[in-house]
Symmetry: C2
Subunit: 252 residues, 2 copies
Amino acid sequence: MTQPIELQELLMSRKSIRKYKPMISVQYIEELLESAFHAPTTGNMQLYSVIINQDEKMKELLAPTHFNQGAFREAPVTLTFCADYNRFIKWCEYRNAKPGYDNFLSFMTAAMDALLVAQTFCLLAESKGYGTCYLGTTLYNAESIAQILKLPKFVVPIITLSVGIPNEEAKQQDRLPAKALIHHEVYEEYSEKYIDRIYQEKEELPDSHKFVKENGKETLAQVYTDVRYKKEDNEAFSAKLLDFLKKQGFMQ
Amino acid sequence: MTQPIELQELLMSRKSIRKYKPMISVQYIEELLESAFHAPTTGNMQLYSVIINQDEKMKELLAPTHFNQGAFREAPVTLTFCADYNRFIKWCEYRNAKPGYDNFLSFMTAAMDALLVAQTFCLLAESKGYGTCYLGTTLYNAESIAQILKLPKFVVPIITLSVGIPNEEAKQQDRLPAKALIHHEVYEEYSEKYIDRIYQEKEELPDSHKFVKENGKETLAQVYTDVRYKKEDNEAFSAKLLDFLKKQGFMQ
């Protein structure tokens, strides 16, 4: 790989990568994971597991759960970061200790651990020249993914990361003005005028105009609400996810 | 600040810092936040807000919600990363779009966004020589914190980070063997023998023996289940958190 990139420099030019060269060293990915496992974790419990997938048959099984996204199909390796209380609970049971982790807070604690490790690995891999792309679809189809990955009770897949050597020149995404996301001491509510101001740049991008036109909508916000992240989908996925959390033992 | 540290090197020696020098440049923290906002975010929606606290009166109000931890009280600045659908929903409403984000999946999506940004900022700040410590207490007392920080509906505090120039030589925490956290293709269940093997190093640490003795317990696992993360506490905090998610509009 190339020289490591300084983190701030990396962030200032960061982009998601969805097309990769076919080869990858899984041994090196594991070495980077080992470093990423030094990420902060609640009470040093390390309530996560990572499932590495590179087998073609497994990828074929998993692809529909990620809506067959190219970023999943074309990646030489994907990492599914799971909230995992199973290992810790087993340890407790073998040590004459009564675990009390079959509840929602414990799920959130393990999910936080998994996400902090995922992002640590993501930045570390990118600092070494890899391209990555998160698949937010993991929580939508958590139960199907868990079945394919044979996740036991107290393990929930949270997020999947595609990793590979970049094989495209991706565009950097716009961001809202930083000041609009930072509040001092207390939350400052957003007035209509302020919303206008902070979304103006995004709304005026050529890509935004294209999305609005292509989807036959009036505003960019309607592309989100009516096409990309729809109420009925969100509600269906919410019900499925809560049901799955119960099945995995987290809603007692 | 000193020269930036390479990310892998940083991780290999990473430790949480709970004692800080009193001075800090909030302007520089904001500059680092601006870089961290390039972290990946679902559909480029940036569903998070960061509340910066440095005012002494605010810290006094907030300290009990973090159980008066030294890492909170002694920090010159704390950052509370919030899941925030409020700003996005307001934008939708002002743009004649009907938001459908009053559900559990949307809460999780925003929480994920907030955690990825938090960890990006955490690593960036550490790469610049700052010390940090996460306060996992934020979700325990989310409602009280939200009242103090004046968070509106659709905003939930997820995690708080203390930041400052280190004023202690902290010890690095042990970690489980990396191989124990990585699974290939499918999840491999942990046998009793394997649990014994992977927890052995942790259980044999002098600090572990000390914790067991100090707390009058038989095993290290009992220190977790009976003292640090108790069933009755987890259940009480779970009920409070689910109730608060309803109040914030996320469980329709």
